[in-house]
Symmetry: C2
Subunit: 119 residues, 2 copies
DNA sequence: CAGAGTACTTTGCAAAGCAAGGTTAAATAT
DNA sequence: ATATTTAACCTTGCTTTGCAAAGTACTCTG
């Protein structure tokens, strides 16, 4: 396996790991449907494809973290507008805490790395 | 699936995603062998088990990011002391950049979440 | 040499990302 | 009105990978 491929692979894993978290954050702001989530993610350079997003949304749905309403569209089939449930809000809060902890651990490690490399 | 299980699952995914990165950071500080890596990870509350770590180290090895030297031990079988190769250093630098980007994106999202929830 | 402790390896299962292809509905073109 | 295009959403199959559990191998102690 080439190094570049491998680098990309690890990077995509880092993205993956925080995907549920990011999706919940996006949904928390306002009700939104899948295709618009994809655009939003692209803005943040968190590239995701349909085949990843739809199953993920279904998992969130069946876990009770999100719910959706069908809404008509003027230009195509109806859309599922997702929003957080109260369960979803609790989940998001737990993930925020978790994110902060992970961040602290990694930043501590990064600092000792930078020290060893004379800034 | 219960919410708690699901929460844990997502959290463990977030850990997973940054695992290679964290391992590289730890190895970058000084040559170290697997069992001590596990202790180190525990200090940072990034729990990992053997069945995860050893295959991961082998993947890093065969991608050329790390190399190891056998060293005798006074209390058991010999140990593989891992250290970064120059390839590994480049990989780590790329991951550092990637980490910073991901961090920025997520922090931007978190900020707009906190705004909507009136701090 | 038997048992305990330490270190590394392997196997098998399950979760999940992703490419590719499919279905359905509305709008537009012919 | 039929065909094509576009927008949404869904599904299948492959592959990767984390992890529990069991296995191998080496050293030291009694």
């Amino acid at each position: 396996m080439k190094r570049d491929k491998y680098t990309e692979n690890i990077q995509s894993q880092m993205r993956k790991g925080s995907l549920e978290f990011v999706i919940l954050l996006i949904i928390s702001r306002k009700a939104i449907y899948a295709a618009d989530m994809l655009k939003e993610l692209k803005k943040y350079e968190l590239i995701v494809v349909e085949g990843t997003l739809y199953p993920l949304l279904n998992r969130l749905k069946s876990s009770g973290a999100v719910e959706y309403q069908w809404k008509e569209s003027k230009s195509g089939p109806p859309r599922k507008y997702y929003k957080l449930t109260s369960k979803g809000k609790k989940l998001l809060d737990a993930l925020l805490l978790n994110w902060n902890n992970l961040n602290q651990s990694i930043n501590a490690l990064i600092q000792s790395y930078e020290k060893n490399n004379s800034r």
